[in-house]
Symmetry: C2
Subunit: 297 residues, 2 copies
């Protein structure tokens, strides 16, 4: 998905939020804003939003002189999610359809996205959990997703954010663990999950976790490591969490299930849904396979 | 009030909204965005938001090749307000305190501000009217405002937006008409009221109406005509409607009552109020006089 003009004011706002997180120095805030505006003037509009985000957040980290401005926020939301985890795990266990409930909770966790919004209260997370357990989600698509998991031999689970990754653990625990590799970012960018967060979430104890070699807030294949790209190529099912992974992989010819909460109007328009909707969506490639099977029947 | 960094993403968003109002040509939208970003890179942060808005909207009008992109919107909201007018007039007439009710309705009209938000439904206006009739507004300040009107000999009423100016008529009708001059913008900018709107609102039939010689979305004295500045200088009471007039006149040493709805977080912070609050506020100069009177008593 390429960038829309609507993304530009959002990036400018995000840059300011990010600079303010990193430092109280207003001169640095102003410098960040001017440099991000300068970068935006000549923006290549054929790039995906995360590809622009990658450049912008590299610039911000350089200007504020910090490698990880969102570190505290990541810790805070990891801790919140870990506090909620036992209760959520019980909710999955006691549910009539544990798999579907785990999918719903994994979507709920996607509210913890500091690219879209910098002010997120703990109560927002709790409210989203409640809404997600009862919100609209197509039973057929859940079944297709379950079938795809059963058939797959090599599953890559592309994680999105810190905090959210604890929610992902609920869904990952429902998958055949020996076939699953979880993927995190190699370097900090916004509040995206890195190896540190995967450890905090307890994922490294139950499943293989690798990084993608990149600091892009999504999966920008051309900036990922050769190792990751080979794993991506060989996987027969990709589970892609969050907006950034949707934006970077929606046009890729692979078997992908996108799992996210649509939080911005541009992505909602691309998905054909309302802002706030829960999304479990097969990639075009997977849809084409289903169509072929139907045709041959 | 000078610009804050928070205003910059808002200006970029406003530029896009404005370009889209003027034309469906996406190449022009992109050109507007790039030029506005270029302008923002070297922004003089000591200016007021309307001074920046003036430059940006001049640029947009030039790039889209239209003198008045908001013309249709202005007509639409003038018509809406005129449709509501008889009912609102009755509401003022039958009210226990007609003056206070007229102030409340003038504040309600300030919701019609396309600088802050480009999507405003007719139902939003009706909802705001209802809220404003019952919302919090300090009785003492209303009384002080009423007293200031009684004492004044030369009142300038600085109008804000089209549509809103019909609501202003309710309050203007409560003032000593022979002492009042209403001021509109000389050239179109955003949905600010011009002489055409004052005529549509029926104001030119009941009161003197002049323009300020400027295309600034506020009262940027240095870009106003000599004639207006002389009138401003000589007036003993200024009634300043809307955010733009507050932003440009809050530091001016004159007797001013600001009447507005605080619609953006930056202005709300400056006013020390919440977003959405109704504001009737004396200028610092007027407050100083009150303090002097109290000291001499």
């Amino acid at each position: 998905m390429k960038i829309f003009l609507d993304c530009i004011p959002c990036f400018v706002r995000q840059a300011l939020d990010s600079a303010r997180l990193a430092t109280d120095d207003e001169q640095i805030h102003e410098k960040v804003m001017r440099e991000v505006l300068r970068l935006a003037v000549d923006l290549d509009m054929s790039q995906s939003p995360p590809a622009i985000g990658q450049q912008i957040h590299r610039l911000i980290r350089k200007l504020v002189g910090q490698n990880d401005p969102y570190h505290q926020i990541k810790e805070r939301f990891n801790n919140l999610a870990l506090k909620l985890y036992p209760e959520l795990e019980e909710c999955v266990r006691e549910s009539e359809d544990s798999f579907a409930t785990a999918v719903r909770l994994a979507i709920a966790g996607n509210i913890i996205d500091f690219g879209v919004k910098t002010s997120l209260a703990e109560s927002d997370v709790e409210k989203t959990i409640e809404q997600s357990l009862n919100g609209l989600l197509d039973d057929n698509t859940i079944q297709e997703f379950k079938d795809a998991v059963t058939k797959a031999e090599k599953i890559l689970y592309l994680a999105d954010n810190a905090g959210e990754i604890v929610f992902d653990r609920l869904l990952i625990a429902q998958l055949p663990l020996e076939k699953v590799t979880v993927v995190v970012k190699a370097e900090p960018v916004i509040n995206d999950a890195t190896m540190e967060d995967a450890k905090t979430a307890g994922l490294t104890n139950i499943v293989e976790v690798i990084d993608n070699g990149s600091d892009g807030p999504g999966t920008i294949l051309e900036t990922c490591s050769q190792t990751f790209r080979a794993r991506f190529e060989n996987a027969d099912l990709i589970i892609a969490k969050g907006q950034g992974n949707y934006e970077t992989l929606s046009n890729i010819d692979k078997n992908i299930f996108f799992i996210l909460k649509a939080k911005c109007p541009v992505i909602a328009r691309d998905l054909g849904c309302e802002v706030g909707e829960m999304i479990l969506r097969k990639s075009k490639a997977l849809n084409d396979i289903v169509d072929l099977v139907k045709e041959s029947e």
